[in-house]
């Protein structure tokens, strides 16, 4: 039995395309998280390409620097990137079997997520006060606000979900129900949220 297991492991390790019980050389939960991230990335890709199409067929597009508070948007980007760094450190601490440090880094990441959400709520309320709605806005192109609310809203919901997941993982770590895999999977999701924002920041706010 043991020798057949060893042979199976050898076969898996020998080739990237060998298949076997662990064809991707990773735990099932991490692989499932990757599959989820890939499917979610396709959703965001759909949103961003729809936005690109709308923008390319529109004779004009509002100048973002005149509509948005770019200092706030840059600050939000800084916060999200920093929280990604603290998340990576939380995973590092979890893998090094240091739950206290992992919880501390998770806490910092959660704080970053809340700051980001607070900034986004401020930005949304400000634009709504100025008259922006899903179907209309004061800047001329109706699709502008629609794209803004749908893309940043969907992303914001992901940040909120991420903060919830991180809080659950941190609480479980505090009570001792702790696994490095859980922290790593939550981390993968959090970094994905950061990756999506990188696209939104470049193509929605800067281009």
């Amino acid at each position: 039995m043991e020798s057949s297991l060893a042979a199976e492991q050898q076969r898996i390790l020998a080739s990237d395309w060998g298949g076997g019980k662990s064809p991707f050389g990773t735990s099932w939960s991490k692989f499932m998280m990757w599959i989820f991230i890939i499917s979610d990335a396709l959703t965001f890709a759909g949103f961003l390409i729809a936005y690109g199409f709308m923008r390319s067929i529109s004779p004009s597009w509002p100048k973002q620097t005149e509509v948005f508070n770019m200092v706030l948007i840059t600050f939000m980007t800084f916060i999200l990137i920093s929280s990604s760094a603290t998340m990576a450190m939380a995973v590092g601490a979890a893998r090094a079997r240091n739950p206290k440090l992992a919880v501390r880094f998770l806490g910092l990441t959660i704080v970053g997520g809340f700051i980001f959400l607070g900034c986004q709520a401020f930005e949304w309320s400000h634009l709504i006060e100025e008259g922006a709605r899903l179907t209309s806005n004061p800047w001329g192109v109706p699709q502008f606000a629609a794209a803004f609310f749908v893309i940043t809203g969907f992303h914001g919901f992901h940040v909120f979900s991420g903060v919830t997941i991180l809080a659950i993982v941190a609480l479980r770590a505090v009570v001792g129900k702790y696994s490095g895999d859980q922290v790593e999977n939550a981390g993968l999701y959090w970094h994905f949220v950061d990756v999506v924002w990188v696209f939104v920041f470049a193509f929605f706010y800067l281009l």
């Binding site: 990237d16 395309w17 662990s22 991707f24 050389g25 990773t26 735990s27 991490k30 990757w34 890939i38 990335a41 396709l42 890709a45 759909g46 961003l48 390409i49 690109g52 199409f53 709308m54 390319s56 067929i57 529109s58 004779p59 004009s60 620097t65 770019m70 840059t74 980007t77 800084f78 990137i81 920093s82 990604s84 760094a85 998340m87 990576a88 450190m89 995973v91 590092g92 893998r95 090094a96 001329g140 192109v141 109706p142 699709q143 490095g180 895999d181 790593e184 981390g187 970094h191 994905f192 950061d194 990756v195 990188v198 696209f199 920041f201 470049a202 193509f203 706010y205 800067l206 281009l207």
Partner: protein, 103 residues
């Protein structure tokens, strides 16, 4: 399996990655305000964005320590996005049409 390679990334590496991500963000921000053509700006922004996501994926998401088949499937959305974009963009070739009216 993951346990075997996680420790090869140190906190120092994470801090450097964070620093370079901030540098790339500043670069993107500078491009946003740069007095250059829209197409060139779009191309340069695509480059900085790709650089940023590669750094995040490789180091923060530990993808550089994963197997090549897992690495390759993560490129699927990017490739499909390029295909989708190339289906929709030639519709206009970036030229505004009458399809959206400005109020």
């Amino acid at each position: 399996m993951a346990e075997q390679h996680e420790h090869s990334i140190t906190y120092k590496t994470y801090l450097w990655t964070w620093f370079w991500l901030l540098v790339l963000t500043s670069l993107a921000l500078g491009l946003g305000y740069a007095p250059i053509g829209e197409r060139l700006k779009a191309m340069l922004l695509v480059c900085t964005t790709l650089a940023k996501i590669l750094v995040i994926a490789a180091i923060f998401m530990h993808l550089r320590y994963e197997r090549i088949n897992l690495i390759l499937i993560t490129f699927a959305p990017l490739i499909l996005a390029v295909i989708l974009f190339s289906f929709t963009f030639p519709e206009t070739l970036g030229t505004p049409t009458h399809l959206i009216t400005v109020r």
